[in-house]
Amino acid sequence: MEHTAHQHPITGPKVYAAVLAALLVLTVITVTAAGVDFGPYNTVIALIIATIKASLVALFFMHLRHDKFDAIVFLGGVFFLAVFLIFTLFDINSRHTILPSNLKEPVKEFPGAPLNKPVQPSTGTAPVAVPGK
């Protein structure tokens, strides 16, 4: 009981209400932005808005702005998720085909597809490479 006093001031309802209002406004913005054609940037814009919302939740609702140590722990997890995502996408995008290494040629039918709807194998947008060697 040596530390009965709080280390940080308690955030009050006014701040929380303001954060909620900001989150709701951002939700409206993201839905509106999805209706406008920004070409390939639509997904980027949606993810930026989502990240702003997530930051608001983490900083205010989860009190990370008063909690440096736990913030580092959490950002460490997010960092490794980013490594996971970015390096996997590098790898995938530098291949023409995604096939199990024991297959010698592209499959004509995706294993999970219903038989009446043939589906191309996961060959990406690039032309199918001739599976030699």
């Binding site: 530390h3 919302k53 997890g77 995502l85």
Partner: protein
């Protein structure tokens, strides 16, 4: 036995909710909070695997994902986003009520959070029901007729796995909040002891955080 326990407690003058292996309430609070954050990191990585899978398949099959997402109801998705954001607000208000020893307000906010969670699952139920009727199901179970773009079953594999796993987390959160509610009614929480409210709150906000990303990725592809 109980007499001996009482004697020990009297000798040390323990705060009632201090576990014996902690030196004080503040240490107990900080340690359990760190434990919760470590758990939340494992949750991020659990969902992370699904997000990476989604990213790969969407990058490879943009047309299929684009066509498939039109089967989702954007209004229902937006409604659920709002419901979950409000529930996060009521949860954090519950934490504030506990921090300031407002027992009645704490109970009120916990009940409101539960109601929001129930609303979320209710909306989700109707969405799932619609997809089951249309045959918009993962992998081999996809029986929707009249598609012009092939491969839409992939989108629904991710849709059901990700929103399904998220839904289980909502149910888990509801169980935890019910537990808090019982303890709050019993009068356990006050300014000197509100750790469990804070920790369940952190978990609940993470569930909200994951939905913040799921919503644009599932409903707002364009």
């Amino acid at each position: 036995m109980s007499q001996a326990t009482t004697t020990v407690q009297a000798e040390h003058e323990h705060p009632p909710f201090l576990q014996h292996h902690f030196t004080g309430m503040q240490q107990q609070f900080d340690a359990t909070k760190l434990g919760m954050w470590l758990f939340l990191v494992t949750e991020v990585l659990l969902f992370g695997g699904l997000f990476v899978g989604y990213g790969i398949m969407r990058a490879k099959h943009p047309e299929a994902f684009m066509a498939a997402h039109h089967h989702l109801n954007r209004t229902m998705g937006a409604l659920n986003t709002i419901v979950l954001l409000v529930s996060s607000f009521t949860m954090v208000m519950g934490v504030w009520a506990a921090q300031t020893s407002r027992k009645r307000l704490l109970i009120l906010f916990l009940v409101l959070t539960l109601l929001c969670a129930g609303t979320f699952l209710g909306v989700k139920f109707f969405e799932y029901q619609h997809k089951f009727e249309e045959g918009l199901l993962p992998g081999n179970f996809y029986t929707h007729q009249g598609d012009t773009v092939p491969g839409q079953f992939m989108f629904f594999s991710f849709y059901f796995m990700m929103t399904g796993l998220h839904g289980f987390h909502v149910v888990g959160g509801m169980c935890a909040i019910t537990w808090l509610l019982i303890r709050a009614i019993r009068g356990d929480f006050s300014a000197s002891y509100y750790g469990p409210v804070d920790l369940v709150g952190l978990y609940w906000h993470l569930v909200d955080l994951i939905w913040i990303y799921l919503f644009p990725l599932m409903y707002l592809i364009s």
